[in-house]
Symmetry: C2
C-alpha cells in the first residue's frame, strides 16, 4: 500500500481538532490534512509514561539506570509488543522493536529515548519514543507494509544521568564507548554492568551493540525543540539542519591572592576581575557576527574564595556551539586574543586547555527534504533550524544518514517540570514522522 | 629613671647594625639613635617561637586552640616570667604579664598575638608580642620604673582559625563575644571550653574577661604592616591612623538557568554575565575618587554550575574598607545604583543584603603623636597610614585609647610562609614601642 490515500481513524479529541481538515493527504496549504496517527491515543501513552518517576512538583525523575527507568522501559516494551513489534534489547540496553519489510533491505530506524534528567519534564525523549510506537500502530491500522524492515529504537541513558556523560546507548551503537564503562560503579558500589543485566543487556558484550555501516538505511528522530524558535515563530515543524558542534575548554586565570584590606587597588592582580572581563569578552565575540552561534560560561570557580582575600585563581568553562565548525574555531581564536590582552592589562596569566570538540553532525539533505515534503503534505508549515542540544541522532550519523523533526517547546523551556508541548503539536510531529518514514521507505534504494 | 639617656647594651649582630649610629637618643635626623632594645636577642626569640607549628615549606601553622598554639603559648609565658612579669591567663585565654608601676594608676597595656593562620608566616602577631616582652627585658636592664603598671598582653585566637571568626580574645575583653561561644564544637566534637580549660581559661566565665573602661590607661600594638606601603616607601615606621571600617554584603543575581545550546544569545538572562559586570562596576566605583579605600569581590558562587547550562543564579560578596565610614557608605550607594542599572539591562534581579558594618576604629591622636615623637627620637622616619587589616587594637579601642606602630612587610606579603620583616626593621619597631610606652607613661594622667 502506498503512503497516500490513507483513511483517518482518529476519534474523540483528535476528531474535534481535525474538524477543519480537508480530508486530502496531498494538500500542502495551511489547513491540516487528514491524520494517519491518532492524537488522543498518543497523548494517553505520554501521560501514562509520565507516571514512572513522577515528581510531586510535576514532571519526572526517570534517570537512566534507576528503578524508575526500568519501570518506564517495561511499560514502553509492552506498548511495542502490543503494536506488533518483535522486541529485543541489545548489550547496551537499547530497546529495538522490529516490523518486517517486503524486501531484503537494511533497517529503517526511528525512535528516541525515555530517560530524563533529574527533575525533568514529560516531553524530552518521550515524544519521539511514543510517537514512533504510534507510527507503528497507525501503519498496522492502515495495513501499510513497507519495503524496508522498520525498527523503533529506545536508546538507553540519553541524558547521562549516571555512569556516563550522555548519549550512552547510541554511543554503544556508534562503537565509541570506552572499554571499561561497564565496570564503573555508582556511589553505592553498584556497577553499570549490573544495571545492564537487569535491563536485558550484557556489560561484557557492549562492543557487540555496535551497528556496522550498511545495516541501517537511515534514522529519523522526532524530538521537542528544547528552545523557543518554533514556539515564537508559531511554526509547527522544525526541519533540523544538523546538531551543532560543541567546543568546550577550561581557562585558568592566575593572579595573586592577597589581603583585601592591605592591598591598594592599583597593586592588585585580581583573578576574578580578569575573569569577569573574559566572561563579557566572550559574549561580545560570539555576538560579533550574524548567525545562531552561542557561547556560554556555565562554570566558574575561584580560589581561595573568602570575602577578605583577593581571588588568586579562577577557572571557568568556555563553551561554543554552531553548525559550522569553522565558525566555532574562528570565534574561539578571537576569544583567545581577547584573553591575551586581558591577561596583559590585568597583570595575570590566562591559559586555556585545548578545546574538546564535538564536531557538528549534519542531517542528510534527502532526509530534510523528506521531512519538509511530509509536513507540506500534512498541511504543516516548516522552518529549517539547527539543534543546539545534543541528540542520539548525532551518534547514529556516524554509521547512517539521519534526519530530525522538531516540534515546539512552550517558552523554549526544557529539562524542567515546566517543559510542555500541547497534544496537537505532539501529534503534528508524529504525523510528519509517519509520512517521512513512508516517504523515505519509498525513495531510499538500500 | 627617665626614658632618655639610656645606655645601649646591644651586642653581636645588632652592634654591627648600630655601627653608624650617633649615640644620642635625642637625635631626630636620618641616622639611627642608640637602641634600648636588643635586636639579636629579640630575633632569637622570634626564631624560637617559629619552631612551634613550623611547616616544612617555611612559616608556621599555629592556629588558635591547637596543640601548636598551646606549645607556643607555654614558650612565650616562660619568656614573660624570665623577664620578671607576673603572668596570669584570663577566662578567655588571654595571657597578661604584669610589671608594677610607682603610682596607683590604670594599666598601660601593649602586646599582640602569637596564633597564626594555617600556613602563615613568622611575623604577623609574633613581632608585636615578642617586642613587647623585649621592651620589658630592656626596661629591666635599664632599671627603668614607670608610673603606670605595665602589662604585656597576648590575645588569644586573633586569626580566628577555629570556633570564632577572629579577634577572639580581644572580643572577650571588649565584652562582645556571643554567650554560647564556649559551647561551640569542632569537627571532632571538642568544645572551645575544653581548649580554654587547657589554656588556663574558663569557658563558663568568659564574661569575666571583659575589661571595664578606666581599667586600662591605653594600649599600644606593634605589628607588621601586611601591606606594601612602608616597604615601597622605604619608611621604617608607620603611625597607624586607625583600623579601617569594613562593610560586607552579599548580592544575589537571579536570571534564568537555561540550555546553553538552545537559548539564543539575545534571549538569555545570564546571571554570570550580570555578575561579571557588577564585579567590574565595583572596581570602577571604588577607584572613582582619590584615597586609600579598597573594594573586593572575594567570593562568587554560581548555580547550577554546569558548562552546558546558562547560570541562573550567582551570589557574590562585596567588601569595602576605608577609615572614613561616610566614604564607605557613599561608594556603597554608587555601587547599588550601578547594580540596578545592570539588573535592568541584563533582565535579571539583583538584590543585596544589608551591609554588615564594622565601623572604623581610630587611634588616639595623643598616641599617634607619642609614636611619631618616639620614632623621631630614635632617628626613624615615619609615615601615617591606615591599617587595612583588622587588629585586636580595634576591640581595645572600645574601652581604652589605642595606638599602633607598623613595621614594613617585605613585598607586602602576609598570611604566607613568604612573610618577612628583616631583624633591623623588627628592632626598629620594638625600639619605637619602648620609647612610646615610656612617653605615654609620662604624659597620660590616668
Amino acid at each position: 500500500m502506498s503512503r497516500n490515500g490513507i483513511r483517518n481513524f482518529a476519534v474523540g479529541l483528535s476528531l474535534a481538532l481535525l474538524a477543519g481538515s480537508s480530508g486530502s493527504a496531498q494538500q500542502s496549504g495551511g489547513a491540516a490534512a487528514e491524520r494517519n496517527v491518532r492524537q488522543e491515543r498518543l497523548w494517553l501513552t505520554l501521560e501514562k509514561l509520565g507516571e514512572f518517576g513522577k515528581n510531586p512538583e510535576g514532571g519526572v525523575s526517570r534517570v537512566g539506570f534507576t528503578e524508575e527507568d526500568l519501570a518506564g522501559r517495561a511499560y514502553v516494551m509492552g506498548l511495542m509488543r502490543e503494536a506488533g513489534l518483535e522486541v529485543r534489547v541489545d548489550a547496551a540496553g537499547n530497546i529495538f522493536g522490529r516490523r518486517a519489510g517486503r524486501e531484503n533491505l537494511p533497517v529503517l530506524l526511528f525512535g528516541s529515548h525515555i530517560d530524563s534528567v533529574p527533575h525533568g519534564g514529560n516531553f524530552d525523549g518521550d515524544v519521539g519514543s511514543l510517537s514512533a510506537i504510534e507510527v507503528i500502530r497507525a501503519l498496522g491500522e492502515h495495513k501499510v507494509t513497507t519495503r524496508h524492515p522498520l525498527e523503533v529504537v529506545i536508546w538507553s541513558n540519553e541524558e547521562g544521568g549516571r555512569y556516563y556523560s550522555g548519549l550512552f546507548g547510541s554511543s554503544a551503537a556508534a562503537g565509541i564507548l570506552p572499554a571499561e564503562v561497564a565496570g564503573r560503579k555508582d556511589e553505592k558500589g553498584e556497577t553499570l554492568g549490573n544495571w545492564l543485566a537487569r535491563m536485558g543487556g550484557v556489560g561484557a558484550r557492549i562492543a557487540e551493540a555496535k551497528i556496522a555501516p550498511g545495516r541501517v538505511a537511515g534514522y529519523v528522530e522526532l524530538h521537542i525543540e528544547q528552545g523557543a524558535t518554533l514556539d515564537e515563530a508559531k511554526t509547527p515543524i522544525g526541519v533540523v539542519q544538523g546538531i551543532v558542534g560543541i567546543s568546550l575548554r577550561y581557562c585558568t586565570v592566575v593572579g595573586f591572592a592577597n589581603h583585601a584590606g592591605t592591598t591598594p587597588m592599583n597593586r592588585r592582580r585580581d583573578a576574578l576581575a580578569a575573569a569577569a572581563r573574559a566572561v563579557l569578552a566572550l559574549r561580545e565575540e560570539v555576538r560579533a557576527e550574524p548567525g545562531r552561534q552561542v557561547g556560554t560560561v556555565g562554570e566558574l570557580k575561584l580560589e581561595p574564595g573568602a570575602s577578605n582575600v583577593i581571588p588568586g585563581r579562577v577557572v571557568f568553562s568556555v563553551e561554543l556551539r554552531d553548525l559550522d565548525a569553522d565558525k566555532i574555531a574562528r570565534i574561539g581564536e578571537r576569544i583567545q586574543r581577547r584573553l591575551e590582552i586581558i591577561g596583559k592589562e590585568e597583570n595575570v596569566a590566562i591559559a586555556c586547555t585545548e578545546a574538546d570538540l564535538h564536531r557538528p553532525a549534519l542531517t542528510a539533505p534527502a532526509f530534510q527534504e523528506a521531512i519538509r515534503a511530509s509536513a507540506r503534505e500534512a498541511g504543516l508549515a516548516t522552518m529549517d533550524l539547527p539543534s543546539g542540544a545534543g541528540h542520539d541522532a548525532q551518534n547514529v550519523a556516524r554509521f547512517a544518514p539521519v534526519g530530525m523533526i522538531f516540534v515546539p517547546s512552550r517558552g523554549g523551556i526544557s529539562h524542567s517540570p515546566l517543559e510542555f508541548t500541547p497534544p496537537e503539536a505532539v501529534a503534528n510531529g508524529a504525523e510528519v514522522l509517519y509520512r517521512a518514514v513512508l516517504r523515505l521507505d519509498g525513495v531510499l534504494d538500500k
